[in-house]
């Protein structure tokens, strides 16, 4: 069997393409579980805030802690398990929450509606950025859900909290399921 140099190059390029797709699909698979988890967390949180705004409104962060803990656990046991505790992920969460608090509470003093729009879009901005390195699906999720949140912020009136529950709750869950198949 004789193989020309250009044929060999094409075969190696094929191999590289497949390897890159395998690596990306493993990232997507790991991320998908985390995204589905956050869909459940967001749905529960927003429903609790809707039914008990006085108690759950100021304490939404406690519910988010469940999401953070769950994310770290999933990364340890997921499709691409990390061998050490994911300190950088924990640090990333801490930085996002710190940055968010500085702007929403300290400098901006956002009202409830602004807070409800700001926090998920802050994290979705992270998704949009992550897509530049880890795959376009992250950017699609980040930008798509941000657009839906903004639509709800301006046009959903009093139903904004339920709109949020639907968009970030079911939206994340559907996006996670889509990403598992990507």
């Amino acid at each position: 069997m004789t193989i020309r140099s250009d044929e060999a190059a094409a075969m190696l390029a094929d191999v590289e393409t497949v390897v890159a797709r395998v690596k990306q699909s493993r990232i997507y698979c790991s991320a998908a579980l985390c995204i589905i988890l956050w869909g459940v967390v967001d749905l529960v949180r927003d429903i609790l805030i809707a039914v008990g705004p006085r108690w759950f409104g100021p304490r939404w962060f406690l519910i988010d802690l469940i999401g953070v803990a769950g994310t770290l656990a999933l990364l340890r046991n997921g499709a691409s398990p990390v061998s050490r505790f994911p300190f950088r992920i924990l640090a990333a969460f801490a930085l996002f929450y710190a940055f968010g608090w500085i702007w929403s509470d300290l400098l901006g003093q956002f009202g409830p509606r602004e807070e409800m729009a700001f926090w998920p879009t802050l994290f979705l901005f992270g998704y949009a950025l992550a897509g530049l390195w880890f795959g376009a699906a992250f950017s699609v999720i980040g930008l798509g859900l941000t657009a839906l949140i903004l639509i709800g912020y301006f046009w959903s009136g009093e139903a904004f909290i339920l709109w949020q529950a639907f968009v970030t709750g079911f939206g994340f869950m559907l996006c996670g399921l889509w990403m598992r198949r990507a």
């Binding site: 069997m1 193989i3 020309r4 140099s5 060999a8 190059a9 075969m11 190696l12 094929d14 191999v15 497949v18 390897v19 797709r21 395998v22 690596k23 699909s25």
Partner: protein
């Protein structure tokens, strides 16, 4: 220089081995649906190529039931990994002109 591996040289089988060896040896392997998506093969076509690779001892095919649904998982054998590495080295040598 060793020649090409006649088993791996076929395009679909080359892609299968590329996908399977992209995973670490201790990882579970890839399921049939994922391999089909990665290789662009049809069900029958992929099945035939997996049989060919299994007969050569290059892959291990495991069939099980997960939530009452059949699931086929394929993993590269140590022999398959070595054969794929030799084949890739052969292709690189052609490009290098050696």
């Amino acid at each position: 220089m060793e020649g090409p591996d006649d088993v791996i040289h076929q395009p679909v089988r080359l892609r299968v081995m590329a996908a399977l060896t992209a995973l670490a040896p201790d990882e579970e392997g890839l399921d049939f649906a994922r391999l089909k998506s990665l290789t662009g093969a049809t069900d029958g076509n992929l099945g035939a190529h997996l049989d060919h690779l299994a007969r050569a001892g290059y892959v291990e095919v495991t069939k099980a039931f997960v939530a009452r649904r059949p699931r086929t998982t394929v993993k590269a054998s140590p022999q398959g990994r070595a054969a794929f590495a030799r084949h890739v080295a052969f292709l690189k040598a052609i490009i290098a002109g050696t």
